[in-house]
Symmetry: D4
Subunit: 156 residues, 8 copies
């Protein structure tokens, strides 16, 4: 069966595309939250009707998004959570907590300046990667047993 | 049996003490992470030996703290997660994710300016409180069925 | 350990008190939702602040009550669900569904004219009782092995 | 994998067909209880033999139907529960309780005049829809990230 | 997905074949224990080496058979357990207990003269059938909503 | 915490009393089904009303007894199942199946002439004892680490 | 569905290939850890960066390998654990513990001189085989009900 | 509630006593396997009757010991597994696997020369200690938040 990988977290850079393209040829099925920022913010009211209060506007959207998120995490073998440079990104850490509690293999993608703030999340993960290429290399190794050098040599 | 409440998150203000003192007389057992910031950061190396790399220094500490945290959350009926004004506080959101996945009743204690950033965490909670007194009022209501006004009137 | 019994459903008659008083002397711990109708309806806004929309007023209250309800059901050995003569009582049937899914022993207390409408709930229960005294007799039998007649004779 | 959606509740209007036809082109597998009212009522005795007592007639039928219902709910990613204008519909609320306890994403389809009576069920759901079209829009959004307007524009 | 049905119990008559042939055309996958009596008794020693003691001869066989049985039950939606006229058939009742504890839909196939002895097993089942044809009719109803008469009429 | 032991099966001899008295001084809490044969058979109708059909008379009783049995097994560390000389005793084997599926430590108490018929149940057990004294010796060993001889010597 | 078999343990002989080739024609999907010893040892640092300390070098590798191992065990119906002549092989016994706790059918492949040291692992297994051919014979029997002799005779 | 700690593994040195005495004053309940080597080896046959084959002699003992071991691990918050200098100690690694799969907090007590062989077990643990005193310091920190130095200073 294909390896199921859920790509959670930051939605402002193309890290998902980088992982997906670097995983070409592997038997992986990727899923992710809706990454269209406006759609993600407004899905609740757009479908179920407007709200006067921003609080409930947000609640309705977050609940509709949760339908997709929960399914993605619960179907995954591996959950990759990316923490970017900006914003609070509490939803990313929240997804990491769900993934850990459900016994998923957790890979964190983050930069060294966030290491201290992420130490509890790191401690629950099986790998801390610094760039998307490393995540793809892990997926390749998990599926084929091939390490980066071996790959290169085989490719030459 | 006593109501078990785990108080997760921000450790720089006295919100825990406020909840505990406002809950006087209720059959509640509170637990929390180690809130001594230095001890929490250094527990791993202080007990198990120094590390050259800050990354592993942090990892060792986070893993020792996880022994306490996991037990607190898994024994709890209610997990209260407090988000403060400063820092990334990813461990708080991470705890909220674990609590949600384990089916714990989640209460979030946070201010309105964080509502949008916390919308996914809020959507998984059963209450969003703005001050510790409200959390204690919820605990009182859950255990006794008494609302704040009723209490007051009964006290007069 | 004491037998834990959660008494769910209709809150307009004294059926809970009847079961509790008829169970005197048994090692049973009873719990129940908040049965003060006004407190139950308003607990959310009374503690966490008013809402303009009745929909969210109700949501806030139902979520706070869920903290108590979930704990009661999940700690119970037996869940008794009472369906009265009036109202939709969907929360009672909802609690019965939760109890069934969690593998609790379910006792339904209802009248014959509701039998057809309750057939799915009945089919998931271990007993359908018609009056509170029968529920107490079941609790007595489960704990002591004594049947009603035997009791009476022993009492004479 | 296809999104599995179980359509529970009211069987007297064509709401299921509306959702299904409005979901055309989506990778969804729908399932539902037997919606032929007579077959559903009589399946137990028709297959396993007649009963003198209506109570056991109903029990036998409800147990046979439970084989289908349990499978539908337990295989579902999303459980949609429709409450209609008439009848007690306790089986709908019972299914909602099972779905909630099993951690399924719950969507309730109901009208505003039932909001207060359904507040506990609503509080356990991720969306409260008013018409079948909205349910289909949620399914479309969950699978494609497309909101109704975006759809329309794309279609133009 | 196909309905998975495990056929447990008595291995001396052709009841399995009757159910399977009466279920023709339905999307059902049947599984069962090894029904070759000698192979079933001797599989342990035949593969793993002879034993002096009959007790361990039996143990080795029962453990190898358990590999098949556990998989069959755990993959099943429905477990049908047939009790025949002869022998103790404790393995059948044991399988029924496993199926009940794992939340499988249990159908018992037995004759009236065993009803009293089977009352605990019956009480955990969703149907008590008297002949294999009835089991197939249940499978057909569960998958298609068609009752026996409707079938006949449709066939005419 | 005390060792919880559920004593399931045959109710016509005093094997339960033998185990309990031979376990004197150990921190064990024993539980068992109702062993008054008539009460056990009639509890359903005695409390909930008579039935014309023996089948439903039995069903009602078995369901009420299941409230006690399920609680006993689910609270137990160890389930002892005794198979006697007579009767089908399918409820004993059924309890053994539940115990095995719930991961309880299973001890079977049976005679050699039933070994072949019980081989599947034996294969799921951690001990096959021939007399009640051996069961008590196991409980003593599990709690104190003392073997029968060591006990004797210590007692001298 | 194909039988999923995870082959854990010793990586220095060709026992996996022997089982796989002796299982030709059976509907089995085999999986295993990465058996390239160097890749397995170095995967962590090769992908995620070098470590000064051997302890963390090993940790990083073991965590990356755990992504593959956990998935293999958790997807398996049967876990075969092979203990060879040399080394501590604690990872093999560790995998056996995970498999036992997750309720997988466990087959141990080991030699008699290790029987005493492996007695706890053996006691949790459903078969102790001495050579790979026996493992394949078990797989064949589990899937087809055919014993070795029957096979041979059928082949002649 | 007291912290429950199971002390698994090596039984030839006094490491258990060291941890217990260094934990004086803490609210910890320790449990462990039977550490009398002869009793542990012979418990099966001493209670349940002799066996000709050493293989079954060992099996009977290991199964009786499993009753104690499973209960100890499943009741524990923390499982400490000690690997000594000698022997295969596969039962220790097996216990570690069970503890990991059940989500227990795992502490490994081992020496550096075994680090490579234990890397998979280490990677599943929350702490790797080198001497029993460190284990007690972890227990103290988990319960009181006090680190070794703080303790000392407080004692002065």
């Amino acid at each position: 069966m294909a390896l199921a990988v859920y790509l959670s977290g930051e939605i402002h850079t193309d890290w998902r595309e980088q992982i997906i393209s670097a995983s070409e040829g592997l038997d992986v099925v990727f899923s992710s939250p809706v990454t269209d920022h406006d759609a993600s913010d407004d899905c609740g009211v757009a479908i179920l009707g407007a709200e006067d209060q921003k609080f409930w506007h947000d609640r309705k959207g977050a609940m509709v998004n949760a339908i997709r998120t929960r399914r993605g995490i619960s179907a995954a073998d591996i959950v990759v959570v990316r923490f970017g440079e900006k914003y609070k990104q509490w939803n990313a850490a929240f997804d990491a907590g769900i993934a850990a509690a459900e016994g998923k293999s957790l890979i964190v993608l983050s930069q060294p300046d966030h290491d201290h703030a992420l130490k509890e999340v790191h401690a629950a993960s099986l790998a801390v990667a610094r760039d998307p290429r490393q995540v793809a290399q892990i997926l390749r190794y998990v599926l084929t047993g091939k390490l980066p050098e071996a790959e290169q040599m085989a490719a030459e």
